[in-house]
Symmetry: C2
Subunit: 171 residues, 2 copies
DNA sequence: CTGTGCATGTAACACGTTACATGATTGC
DNA sequence: GCAATCATGTAACGTGTTACATGCACAG
């Protein structure tokens, strides 16, 4: 999976501008992927050069112009190849786990604070995602919802487990 | 969190060689962090230059020589700063979620295969981690175990949720 | 006239991986 | 002699971020 594939997936539904693609990232899959403008715009240029997408300038009322990108048949092909291809191993990079792992080199209060903070953050993420799921209910397909429900399930498990250890070891 | 901090954490317990550090990564926190030799060795050289660690060549019987690194007081200081500093946001990069998200652009069989495969992989990771936890039981501190138990809880939730959707939508 | 949102883009930098290259020692 | 494990290291490459730079349009 690279950003190109992800962009192709989004454009496969309908044309978007770079700015809209970034919004889509934040709105729909912030919890398992993200990319900055610094990646998106150069990637779009590159993909245009590779004839995977085409650019069209669109005038808007009350807003600046935007460059809307449309997927080409080559792009669709490439995306289908991605979809049917192998699934890359999931990568988690967690500073929370690292801090916890080395927790015995600090005091108990620091660890407790770490755990409480992590729990609160996860709770916020849970709430946000749940709210998003409710709000977008009709706009989402089965599999999009499935993604979110899987995310929620993992968040919930994490929160529950933290609560358990907080009660057990920090009573 | 960068690799330097992680290496300092490992060396804070006892001196290690680059090779041993890599093994430690795989053995103890493969599920939330990883790094390759291509990162480890240059980083160790850099850290030696920064006086965070010192190198010592050690002869072994039946094995080639190794460079063992020891943390300095500057290194310990730096690690304490890391430990008490802010916790970076967790980053997940999941190709599985991406494939699932765009699942409606393939056929149901492909998605089912995707889900089953993901479930099996998570089950394997669960089993491995559980086994590791049992095997290392006495060698692990409270917080190390906590990390693993949190990992297990998340894996279990994921597996359970996948099973649910498989029974519900793919009956 | 200023802040906010919309919109695009670049340049410097950090970080990390993969593949390559080397070589010791042991066990078969 | 060869495969496996131990052990170290580099060079090329890819990928992505952050900070910077610019500018339109609207609302208050």
């Amino acid at each position: 999976m690279n950003i190109q594939d992800v962009i192709l997936g989004i454009l496969n539904k309908k044309p978007h501008s770079g700015y809209e693609i970034k919004q889509h990232f934040e709105e729909y899959f912030s919890f398992f992927f993200d990319a900055s403008y610094g990646t998106i715009y150069p990637t779009l240029s590159k993909m245009e050069g590779l004839k995977l997408i085409t650019k069209e300038s669109v005038r808007q009322e009350g807003k600046p112009d935007k460059n809307v990108f449309t997927i080409t048949s080559t792009g669709t092909e490439r995306f289908q190849t991605y979809l049917h291809g192998p699934v890359e191993k999931e990568v988690l990079r967690s500073d929370f786990f690292m801090h916890l792992y080395f927790g015995d080199m600090t005091d108990k209060e620091t660890v407790e604070k770490l755990l409480r903070q992590a729990m609160e953050e996860k709770q916020t993420m849970f709430d946000d995602l749940e709210q998003k799921l409710k709000k977008l209910d009709t706009k989402l397909g089965t599999y999009q919802k499935m993604c979110m429900e899987l995310g929620l399930a993992q968040y919930a498990a994490f929160i529950k487990e933290i609560q358990r250890v907080l009660e057990l070891d920090f009573a």
